[in-house]
Symmetry: C2
Subunit: 295 residues, 2 copies
């Protein structure tokens, strides 16, 4: 009945902290300072530091606390040694359930215990995931026992509904008064698209292609500074991802998409926001194979 240890997770976060602040050997590591920085209490920090002591990253002196042994540069990669921690990304299970459902492995109605057994999750964890799925509208709690799956964006029609929303949102986002170019993000996006264009699109996995695409668009909308726009887009992409995993990607269209992405960046950097918005609209309509009247 315990709870999963924070300490293991904290070891890697402490190392991150050391790197971020470029701390040097023999530097003192006050537990309260670390606790404040990582937003936890001193208790799990102490446990984590003891683990790091075993790994010879820090040493302890009685009544004086912990001191760095290695410098910020020579820290070990703790990810490997702390495999036990696994923040157990909740999304992982979310997608596992979605995949199984789409693959027809889950019936229309399922009970909680059935899912607990199937995925080896604790009830607490499962319930969080189911609640999230219910929020997104493709599962519903029955009055008595069990849950019932809904439509889940399976139909061609509801798939296009997602594109309709994107057509409405994205071009408008670029025109919002709060829109500001994030130089670093733009540069990274341009580089990524160029890499895809230079043959990367042939090698990249399906999920990489999808991620690159949705990250591009989310970055763009993120620059609008309006969290509602970004949130709505992310919701659509999240569901879209589930479906696009299960249809074949026509890779021949990817180079064109990449060029269009780069073009959008260029237009925006030149300050031609209206032109960028118009182009973006056509770009999305092209990807979704839809055409809707403009406001």
């Amino acid at each position: 009945m315990p709870r999963p240890n924070l300490a293991a997770q904290l070891t890697s976060r402490i190392l991150d902290y050391i790197r971020a602040n470029d701390l040097q050997p023999d530097q003192h590591l006050p537990s309260q300072t670390l606790a404040d920085a990582l937003r936890v209490s001193r208790a799990p920090i102490g446990a984590a530091l003891q683990m790091l002591e075993d790994m010879k990253v820090v040493r302890s002196e009685p009544n004086r606390g912990f001191f760095l042994v290695k410098g910020a540069d020579e820290l070990p990669d703790v990810a490997a040694s702390a495999e036990a921690m696994e923040p157990e990304n909740e999304d992982e299970w979310y997608f596992a359930i979605a995949e199984d459902r789409l693959a027809g492995k889950l019936p229309d109605r399922v009970s909680e215990n059935e899912l607990i057994r199937r995925y080896g999750l604790s009830r607490t964890r499962l319930l969080k995931i189911l609640t999230k799925i219910a929020e997104e509208g493709w599962i519903e709690r029955l009055p008595g026992n069990g849950w019932a799956f809904g439509q889940l964006l399976t139909s061609k029609e509801s798939y296009q509904h997602g594109y309709q929303l994107r057509v409405a949102l994205e071009p408008q986002a670029v025109l919002l008064p709060g829109f500001q170019i994030d130089r670093a993000a733009f540069a990274a996006a341009r580089e990524k698209q160029q890499w895809l264009l230079d043959g990367g699109y042939k090698r990249a996995s399906r999920s990489e292609i999808f991620a690159a695409n949705s990250e591009f668009h989310e970055m763009l909308v993120g620059c609008s500074g309006n969290p509602f726009f970004l949130d709505a887009l992310k919701r659509v992409n999240r569901l879209r991802r589930l479906v696009e995993y299960h249809i074949t990607v026509d890779r021949s269209r990817l180079p064109l998409q990449c060029r269009e992405h780069i073009n959008i960046l260029t237009l925006l950097e030149k300050g031609l926001r209206q032109e960028a918005a118009d182009f973006l609209r056509v770009h999305i309509e092209g990807a979704g194979l839809i055409k809707i009247p403009q406001v």
Copy 2:
């Protein structure tokens, strides 16, 4: 350690079912039929029917089941007699927390047990609510214990972000190919707006005014048939409601708003969707006191 009884809730749902199907006295009520209709098993249906027998709404014959005593018209109002059930609307608690937070009654950091004590909720229930709030972005789970409140749309700026989204969504929704007028809903909306216009706006409570307004707009977007549009709008309205409860409403502007609402209905009924969209855009911009460039 039991679970809350479904039976009490089912009594009122069974009465609804009888009314909806206009059943008459002496009609047989097969438990499986009711169970299928209400999506539960026969077990809680039986318990509910026994409760209804005590209330003299039905009678039972050995080995033959339950029969209606009263007709669909003369059913008692069970809501009063089943006060014990309380579906305990989850939203109620959601808003209670929001109110308390806005009123400064909740500190930046709270623990789960603190909230359980304060609101008298079970942990299961509380966790569902907190997860939902976290989804909406105004609370965050801390790594160790407790939760930390975030911004919650308090600033004037993020308040206007909501209007920006509505300007982008609503006019476009009216133009979507799937848009179809829901005659009944349109008639009801027109009536409601007319009632407000005819002096209702002076008497109605703040929350009634808010509800009437957001229901109007959600009804409109609902006619688009695109669930993503409706979902995004509902999310904005949900947060907006929290803030608008705490600012004074300028009632002098309400009659104009109502007339505009009615005008939108009229335009749509005449098939002038483009005109309705344009007008809707100006209408929302007026309410939010914003102006943004058009795509």
